[in-house]
Structures are given as C-alpha cells and as structure tokens.
Amino acid sequence: MKFDKRKDINPKYLLLTLTIICIIFLLMSFFASDKIAAIKGFTGKIITPLQQGINEIGLWTDSKMDNLKKIEDLTAENEELKKKLAEYQSEITTYQNQLSELESLQELYELDALYPDYNKTGAHVFATDSSSWFSTFYIDKGTNDGLFVGANVMCGEGLAGLIVECYADYSKVRAIIDDNSNVSAKIMPSNALCTVEGNINTYQHGYLAVVNIDKDANISIGDKVVTSNISDRYHAGIVIGYVTNVENDPNNLTKTAFISPVVNFSEITEVLVITDTKTTIVTE
C-alpha cells in the first residue's frame, strides 16, 4: 500500500482510535443521551430534506406509472361499484334502524361512545429502515406539529405503530410488525386480553402472532383484535387485525392466535397520527 509518507499512520492504530470513538459514542448513548440526540438531530437535518426530495420524485413516478395502468381497470371497476352501491344503499337503511336502536340502548346503559373521536393529523412516510431486520420508518411531521414520543400512528383504520423518536420536523415510527413491538390488545366479541407480538418469522408469512390468550377464551376465526384499555401507550379501540388461525400452546394454559393485520405494510405512504395523549382521555 502506498500512502503519503507525511500522513502515514499504521491502519492498526487508526482502527484502535475509531473503535474507541465507537465505544465512547455507545457509552454516551446510555449516560448522556441528550448529547447523542443532538448529534442525531444535526445529521437528520442534513439527511432528511434529501430523503424527502428523493421520495417526492419516487412518489411522482410511481403515481404516473399507476395512472397508465389504472385507466383500463377503472372502467370495469366503475361498473361493478355501481351495482354494489345499489346493494349497500338498501343495507344502510337497515343499519340506520339498528343504529337508532343501539343509541337508545346505550343511553339506557349510560355508556360513552365505544370509539372516542381522537384528534388526528396526517403525515407522509419518507424513509424506511435500510436493513431487513427492523421495521421502522420516518414521517415528515414532528414536535412542531404537536407530535410527541409515544403518539399512536394509524394507517387508514388500523394501527400502524408508535412514535419512538421525535424531532422538530420529523419523527421515527416503530411499526407493530417490528420484532421489538408488543401491543396489549383484546379480541373483540369475547373480550379476551392478549398481546400482539411483532415477529419477523411470522410476518414473512403475512401474519402477526397474538400470544397469552387465556385457554378458555372463546375465539373463532374472523374475530376482530383491537387495542385494549389496559395499555398505557395505545389508545383503546383501534383495530389491529382479524384472527386467521388459533392454536393451543404446549403449556396448555394459553392459546396463540395468528392475525392478518388491517394495515398493508408493503404500501404505506400516508399515515394518521393521534395527537391526544393517553392520559388526557383517562382523566376526562
């Protein structure tokens, strides 16, 4: 190897120096996390605008490609939808009748609304984790828009994840399919409590694992899994997915179910973030 004689340092010593720097950073992450947050924030300020720019270009080309593909499909779909619309209109009238009945019954029981109206704000996804091991992504809103660490992130009607790091203009979200994610939930008609576990292996097959279900709970395929009131992080009543399979655990005390999530994690572009904190709802 030829290096400039004046600057030539043995790579061994350089390796040692850089290793020490790594260890210092690592120790700082635990003992001086505010300084590390500053470094991360500074790097993010440079990197995130570039990512957002590239992402805009990607979305633009993607939508243009989609348009070409969709025109043909849309006419056929339109016909079908018109037929369905007529069906649904008749269904709505029946539901409306049932709703008024439900409302009168709820008044009777003095129940609050089952799904409280949370304040939400929309955000775009602009970057995803670069390695195949983790499922985190970045959204383009942060503390300036009233977000905070621990805010729930939804995609459509379903639960998508939780904000784990929040900076001024962007935040990092951990998806519920991430291996580190655990959501306290309940299975709907039977009200059985359970934990929705993110797991790479089951997600490769399109499912999330639901563990710690009581053996005696009455669960059938198609049951809805929603976030529970017990959780101190997640708001109650957000849909996570639907049960596709149930099996008994070897310990014969609990059951494990597999659910298919409502959110399509392979096509996340826009998300909704709930800006209420969990505690304010409890005190209300």
Partner: protein, 164 residues
C-alpha cells in the same frame, strides 16, 4: 481532497437511496445493502485505511437514523471495511470473482452479527428460520447488485487515480 469529497457524496447518496428507493414504502421487506457494497468495494480497491473510514461513516449514518444507540453499526461496518482491506494485496482490476466472494462473506457476517446482538440475546433461538427468511435472500440480492455496482466503483476509482 477530490477523493474525500467524492467518497462523502457516495456515502450520502448510497444511504439516501437505501432508505428511500430500495424498499420503497415497503416496510419489513428484503432489500440489498448498498452501504455494505460501498464499504467492501473501497476496502478491496484501496486497502484497509480507506475501507475502514468508508465503513465508519456509512455506519454513522445508519446509526443516526435507524438505531436507538450510536455505535453498533459503526463498529460492524468499520471492522468489515478493515478486514476487506487485507484483500487489497490480491486486487486485480479485472477480477470480478473476488468482490463477489467477499461480499457474500460480508453479508453473512454482518447479518449474523445483527442476529446475535438483537435477536439471540432476546432468546429468539430459531436461527435457521432467520437464515432462510432473511439472511439468504438479502445476501443473494446484494451479491447480484454487486456485479453491476462494483464495476461503477472501479470506474470512479480509476478516474480519481488519473486526476491524482
């Protein structure tokens, strides 16, 4: 100086591509590891020192954006860059097989390290499942991409050498 600026741009460019276009809005999917290809290429073409620095800064970006603590990715990428630098002695410009073998070994080492730190220590013992569902697909996709991207880096390296 020209070399440092080129390398810095390459690192940032690779990182941004990796986090946006590759795995475009596709969370929890397999995507090739561009930064590992960059680290490996400059490790082989330029030796231990440059491989180490490229790896160090690739890892720094990865840590800043996708890790809760600062350090682990930096260390892994840096070690990979340094070790790949030993192959510089046998480096021939036309040789396309050496980078391919080295990148496969790198990917296996890199992913095994992540498995041990983040999964084995949390009592996730089914290593075989992780190998078949994550490590092998990622290794293959990275190796395929290496064939193309490595040529590009060889070209960039040659241009830089001509200027120096």
């Amino acid at each position: 100086m020209r070399r440092i600026i080129t390398l810095a741009l390459l690192i940032i460019f690779n990182f941004i591509l990796q986090s946006t276009i590759f795995g475009f809005h596709n969370i929890g999917s397999i995507s090739p590891n561009l930064m590992l290809i960059l680290t490996m290429s400059f490790g082989i073409m330029r030796g231990r020192k440059e491989g180490m620095f490229v790896g160090f800064f690739c890892g720094f970006l990865a840590d800043c954006m996708f890790s809760t603590v600062l350090g682990p990715y930096m260390f892994i990428y840096m070690i990979i860059g340094y070790v790949n630098g030993f192959f510089h002695k046998t480096y021939i410009v036309e040789d396309a097989l050496l980078p391919l073998i080295v990148i496969v070994l790198d990917e296996l080492a890199f992913n095994t390290a992540i498995y041990v730190v983040h999964f084995l220590l949390r009592n996730h013992l089914n290593f075989i499942d992780y190998i078949t569902s994550i490590i092998i697909p990622e290794t293959l996709s990275t190796a395929l991409l290496t064939i193309i991207v490595y040529k590009l880096y060889v070209f960039i390296n040659r241009k830089l050498k001509e200027k120096e």
